[in-house]
């Protein structure tokens, strides 16, 4: 059908004669000074970001004599897992010398229930704020968001008093409650914005069909909110796993999370420091959030940017 396309207009045209005239795409040399600068800068910053990870991992596989020789860049002469075993099973965290493993399990015991409870409460809350608004609900929400910027130190002591009165200070319940409280602003915002983006006709149709608060939540809203749940999950698991302050204040000596134990291994160690054990312990503590980060990829980016950009 291309013959129709060549039907020329009424205006006669001057035909270009030179064969070397520009034709086709603009010539684009692969190496321009601009491009070299661009990639050089990106590579420079990448090295800055990667360097600590490299040092951390390499050091953890070395022996102490090799470390004392003093080249943090060098690959280990011989890879040894001794430091890793010691960090996991027998490094001293202050009074006891059981390694990081108890801290790991404490962190698991804190993270799982805290994540589940905080996400569930925030999801229901966000749903109520969008579809079941009542007088004053928006004021409460505004204070909630505003309160999230207040330094935790302001609430710390009164919360200690409250949990002590309730008889749960220094227990897992206390940490779970605290994480639920301080996760609520960002998670509620996340769910509120998400539910508000769903078509309101869906909710109205369900109301007309006679469904109530919980039935609509569980049968209509939840099945549609999988992506936002994943985002919230990533946000909470990494956030709670990485927490230090609440763990050290509220968990009690029996339940200290991994971050606190790690800090104790490195910073309150007696005798000569074992840097390979320290770095192995550090890698171990960073492993859970790193795995989540690398597996979740773009969702993690969405998670960290979600509340922020829309907020």
């Amino acid at each position: 059908m291309s013959q129709t396309a060549t039907m020329s207009g009424s205006a006669p045209t001057t035909t270009p004669t030179a064969g070397t005239e520009p034709r086709g795409p603009r010539p684009k040399p692969f190496f321009t000074p601009k491009k070299i600068m661009l990639y050089a800068t990106l590579v420079f910053f990448s090295l800055y970001f990667l360097f600590p990870l490299y040092v951390m991992v390499v050091t953890s596989f070395k022996t102490m004599p090799e470390i004392r020789f003093g080249n943090i860049f060098a690959l280990p002469n011989q890879i040894t897992l001794d430091a890793w075993f010691k960090a996991w099973t027998s490094a001293c965290t202050g009074l006891t010398c059981e390694g990081l493993s108890p801290g790991f399990w404490n962190s698991v015991k804190i993270t799982i229930p805290s994540t589940v409870v905080s996400i569930f409460i925030a999801a229901v809350n966000g749903y109520a704020l969008v579809n079941w608004r009542f007088k004053g609900s928006e004021i409460f929400f505004s204070i909630l968001i505003f309160g999230s910027f207040i330094p935790y130190q302001v609430f710390l002591y009164p919360l200690v008093m409250i949990t002590r009165e309730l008889g749960i200070f220094g227990s897992l319940q206390a940490v779970i409650i605290v994480h639920t409280i301080f996760g609520m602003p960002i998670l509620t915002l996340l769910f509120r914005n998400y539910f508000a983006s769903l078509p309101v006709e869906l909710f109205k149709a369900a109301r007309v069909d006679g469904a109530g608060f919980w039935r609509i939540f569980f049968e209509i809203m939840l099945p549609m909110s999988l992506p936002i749940f994943v985002v919230a999950l990533i946000l909470q698991v990494t956030g709670i796993w990485n927490d230090f302050l609440f763990g050290v204040v509220f968990a009690g000596t029996q339940n200290l999370p991994m971050t606190v134990q790690l800090n104790n291994i490195v910073n309150s160690a007696q005798g000569s420091p074992e840097y390979n054990v320290n770095m192995a312990a550090t890698v171990l503590t960073g492993l859970v959030p790193l795995i989540i980060y690398f597996v979740s990829g773009k969702l993690f980016v969405r998670g960290v940017a979600a509340g922020a950009v829309k907020g």
């Binding site: 661009l38 990106l42 910053f45 990448s46 800055y48 970001f49 360097f51 600590p52 040092v55 003093g70 943090i72 860049f73 229901v124 079941w132 608004r133 009542f134 007088k135 609900s137 004021i139 505004s142 204070i143 909630l144 505003f146 309160g147 910027f149 207040i150 330094p151 130190q153 302001v154 609430f155 710390l156 002591y157 009164p158 919360l159 008093m161 639920t180 409280i181 609520m184 909710f203 109301r207 608060f213 990494t238 990485n242 230090f244 302050l245 971050t259 790690l262 800090n263 910073n267 840097y275 320290n278 503590t285 959030p289 790193l290 980060y293 980016v301 960290v304 940017a305 950009v309 907020g311």
Partner: protein
């Protein structure tokens, strides 16, 4: 605030003129029950605890919050304590540098990432992964890298560069910049992601229009795109700022306030007095000062953002 909720069945089954009590408690009952955790958090924690902290900061409580009312005594003592004054100075210095560099480098990296580069997702992964880590992990890694004898400095000297000096962590005048290097390492990637989202949110036709107008790329970024990103910039400043005020874990892990008290910060001061020093009144006064600082930053912002025109 309009009650826009669809009338609930509970509401519909009320008598024609429900009593005031019914209107407050029974109307939209499920919604209210669902919001109980939020209301409790707001009333008990965000309002109640704040008031409690402010009130007891005016007492001479030591081991238990039972002291007598002593007016501004705790605050006078606070500002007479060199450790507090160093903490505040440190926070301001660190805060200014951190804010400027995080925003500056974050924006620069976002612009570079926006140039249709190859391996974009690899670069993003590399820049953002530190953000997934705990401040404790970040602090300990950098503590090791900055170890004067066995870290970067020792390595360079062993390799023959005798004058190489990177002992900031042990140098009272430079220790804040050691904190800054670690803090930037963790936070810049996040700022970059925020900014990149902002850049990508700019209508593509704006870019086309600027090209037709013959505006150079850098000029378009500065004169057109950056002003359009006001919302993202404000968000970034607020998030970075509230992170700075909370600065605690990183200091504990990297320097533990040392050498001496040269890298102390307010959050650490509060913690140490409350749970270590047995001087609750003093810790609460310091916490209240942190609150006041945040309010001084937040209230004008909230007014500009939501005041005047009403919320949204």
């Amino acid at each position: 605030m309009a009650d826009t909720a669809v009338h609930t069945r509970e509401g519909a089954e009320q008598a024609a003129r429900p009593s005031l009590l019914n209107r407050i408690f029974l109307h939209n009952l499920s919604g209210k029950i669902a919001a109980i955790p939020m209301m409790a958090t707001v009333l008990i924690v965000f309002i109640g605890c704040t008031v409690w902290t402010i009130y007891f900061s005016f007492t001479n409580s030591r081991l238990l919050p039972t002291g007598k009312f002593v007016g501004f005594d705790q605050y006078e003592r606070l500002f007479a304590t060199s450790r507090w004054n160093v903490s505040v100075t440190n926070l301001v210095t660190y805060g200014v540098f951190s804010l400027v560099f995080t925003l500056g480098i974050g924006f620069l990296l976002a612009v570079l990432m926006d140039q249709k580069i190859r391996f974009e997702s690899a670069f993003r992964t590399i820049m953002l992964y530190p953000f997934a880590l705990s401040f404790i992990v970040t602090g300990l890694v950098w503590q090791w890298i900055m170890n004067p004898t066995l870290g970067l400095q020792g390595t360079m000297r062993n390799l023959g560069w005798e004058s190489f000096t990177f002992d900031w962590i042990a140098n009272p005048r430079m220790v804040l910049f050691a904190l800054l290097i670690a803090g930037l390492w963790q936070g810049v990637g996040f700022c970059m992601v925020l900014m990149l989202a902002g850049l990508r949110g700019v209508d593509e036709e704006i870019w086309k229009a600027a090209r037709v107008d013959g505006i150079p790329t850098w000029r378009t970024y500065v004169s057109v795109v950056l002003p359009m990103m006001r919302g993202v910039l404000v968000t970034a400043v607020v998030l970075i700022g509230s992170g700075i005020v909370r600065l605690y874990d990183l200091v504990v892990a990297l320097t533990n306030g040392g050498p001496g008290i040269s890298s102390e910060v307010p959050a650490k001061y509060v913690y140490n007095y409350m749970f270590g020093g047995g001087n609750i009144g003093q810790g609460l006064a310091a916490a209240t000062m942190m609150l006041v600082t945040v309010l001084i930053i937040m209230v004008p912002w909230a007014y500009l953002e939501f005041g005047g025109r009403g919320r949204r």
